[in-house]
């Protein structure tokens, strides 16, 4: 199963605020890499960098390199983003949706409340960490 993790999941897993589900999610994924792969765009790496110290970011990069594939933003076809902007997303969020579709991910995991959740024809699921864990921790694939 291919997953895209939004930057808030990483930052919560690293200790931002108190969000045990995100901590649990990232730890669970470290032991399920063979069945659950993670890809993220460069934008997410940059968002993390902007919100942590240089010392922390050095460690974060090591973690990301160990269990995440990073793609350059520029690779995502422009028209994918336009489609999601037309659905009402802001350009940057539209890009994340476009990226998720472009890589063929099954699930986008993020904590934002509003993200096209009323769209029934999305080619991927959008879930929070807790929802993902509820569905997958007891059902290993």
């Amino acid at each position: 199963m291919l997953l895209v993790l939004d930057s808030n999941e990483y930052l919560f897993a690293f200790g931002a605020a108190k969000q045990p589900a995100s901590v649990q999610l990232v730890e669970w994924l470290t032991t399920h890499h063979q069945t659950h792969q993670i890809r993220i765009p460069r934008l997410i790496v940059e968002e993390i960098r902007r919100n942590v110290s240089a010392e922390v970011f050095r460690e974060v990069l090591e973690v990301i390199q160990l269990f995440t594939t990073t793609d350059e933003d520029i690779l995502v076809p422009f028209e994918f983003g336009v489609k999601y902007e037309r659905h009402g997303l802001k350009p940057a969020d539209a890009f994340i949706a476009a990226y998720t579709e472009w890589v063929g991910a099954h699930v986008l995991i993020r904590e934002h409340r509003h993200f096209l959740t009323r769209q029934v024809d999305l080619p991927f699921q959008v879930v929070r960490a807790q929802n993902f864990l509820d569905h997958h921790m007891l059902r290993p694939r």
């Binding site: 930057s7 808030n8 930052l11 919560f12 897993a13 690293f14 200790g15 931002a16 605020a17 108190k18 969000q19 990232v26 730890e27 470290t30 032991t31 890499h33 063979q34 934008l43 940059e46 968002e47 902007r50 919100n51 942590v52 110290s53 010392e55 922390v56 460690e59 974060v60 090591e62 973690v63 160990l66 269990f67 933003d73 802001k90 350009p91 940057a92 969020d93 890009f95 904590e111 934002h112």
Partner: protein
């Protein structure tokens, strides 16, 4: 992923959390909603700087 890599990942995650707590990252003292809002602002700023000039 080998057990060794999983072990290393867990060790590094623990280290990151220790650093975040030690450095008193602003994010550490925020609520979940505040963190989400902070990241949203970051995303918009990065997007503006990176792609807006091209559109």
């Amino acid at each position: 992923m080998s057990d060794k890599t999983t072990k290393e990942l867990r060790h590094r995650l623990t280290h990151i959390r220790e650093l975040m707590a030690k450095q008193r990252s602003p994010l550490s003292s925020m609520t979940k909603e505040q963190v989400i809002e902070a990241i949203r602002k970051t995303r918009e700023e990065l997007w503006e700087a990176k792609f807006a000039p091209r559109t």
